[in-house]
Symmetry: C2
Subunit: 301 residues, 2 copies
Amino acid sequence: MTGETGSSLLRDAVQETALAIDEAFDRLLPVPSDARARLYEAMRHAAIGGGKRMRPLLVKATGDLFNVSAESALRVGLAVECIHVYSLIHDDLPAMDDDDLRRGKPTVHKAYDEATAILAGDCLHDIAFEVLVDPRTHADPFVRCELIRALAVSSGPAGMAGGQMMDLEAEKSGFDLPTVTRLQQLKTGALIGFCVEAGAILGRVPPEGRTSLHGYARDIGLAFQIADDLLDVEGDAQLAGKALGKDAAAGKETFVSLLGVDRAREQAHILVAQAKAHLHNHGAEADLLRAIADYVVERDR
Amino acid sequence: MTGETGSSLLRDAVQETALAIDEAFDRLLPVPSDARARLYEAMRHAAIGGGKRMRPLLVKATGDLFNVSAESALRVGLAVECIHVYSLIHDDLPAMDDDDLRRGKPTVHKAYDEATAILAGDCLHDIAFEVLVDPRTHADPFVRCELIRALAVSSGPAGMAGGQMMDLEAEKSGFDLPTVTRLQQLKTGALIGFCVEAGAILGRVPPEGRTSLHGYARDIGLAFQIADDLLDVEGDAQLAGKALGKDAAAGKETFVSLLGVDRAREQAHILVAQAKAHLHNHGAEADLLRAIADYVVERDR
């Protein structure tokens, strides 16, 4: 596959996924005509019209390897995006990272208030499981249970939320490279791992057949985080739609502070090559996964 | 059944359930030896050694009608208690109800900090679904999916969290009796409804056979809330283990402000009688549910 083909494949898939996720959120979150209207408006503010939708794209790209239906992949992508958006709302709160801007818009607690932001996050958290447990996600309840278990583990204390806790502690004590790696494997890696695992679950791939996909997910997860750390140092806040330079200001160790800019960039590219190597048993049906791996380090926001 | 028998039946079941839930939380939340230790300690602080455990008790009492195994009922009770505890942690936050004391102990954001409290709540939220999806809860994935769907709906925007949003809005505008009733049916009633529904789901009772149980849950849910409103006005803060008189201070309409103390108390007793009437098709196996209905309005905390 040439870079040209890969990028047009990626561009089309990104656009299609972004549109489908926005439409799905619009249907999922109709504003009721009672005192809960503000809650739904806050969820819509955070969920609709933003983000790269990289996680739903990963579910779709992995599903493509195993002939997973578009509806199943989209619904699982919607669920994981509910979790991702809930985590952004809570992470942006004054008591956490205290951010005013997200995806170029005011964060939920700025546009509404803190209480509404906490509840909007909590509700999207529930809705993720509501979406997964629906028979439209997959006809077989055993498959739905596998998806639910994987999502609960990867978003909870052994995954994303556990990583966020480590991140808060990182401000207090200087972490070394193995600890920062572990932190990021939990904080961003676990949910990225879920996306790839979910594609395999929907495709009825038994656990022992998922090893190379786990390797792919682990490598692009870390590459994604290194790229994020590089953008935090070198990026354009306008393009990113959020404040940058925050890690250095907070005195937090990152891949860039520990490795330096050049070695961090090199490491990201090594990880992308490794990620693609995990796909060697697959042909053209894995081109989208390959294009995502390249994009992870080439993006400017 | 005499009141005497009912109260000893209740006392034994309350003690047994409280012990079993504490032990289950202790096993569920081992403190890891890494930077997430603080997160687990915060969850343990909130989850272990407190509360009436009325929700797990309701699951057990309903399960008793349908020969549900003790382990299934306990695991579902543990899951609903995870949701209840997470909601208390978030509701107590400064941006929400701003409470310093809960169950006679400092609230989580007081004992730890706000960020840890937000994350501890988020993690218990995930763990609830992790517990439900585990095959030890029920061997049949279809039953587990039914439980997960019911819990996600009753804790999300169409249930508990939606009710909490209405409660925040209640401070701004004076709600009338139908609106306060609707608010409380969501805020506390939905999760109580889940407990009773879960007993029926575990007992393989088809939806059309659950009507009288729904009626029982609706009635004790409202009676419970009226009793709470009465305790907020007349109760002993020492016994309650939390600040009282907060609704009046916030200018919020409650059953007591709308009906007056006497009519509110009368209404609670009518609801308890109605709740017990819904159980008329059941014999002695429903005595625990009857005793819980009495307890809901007779408790002093």
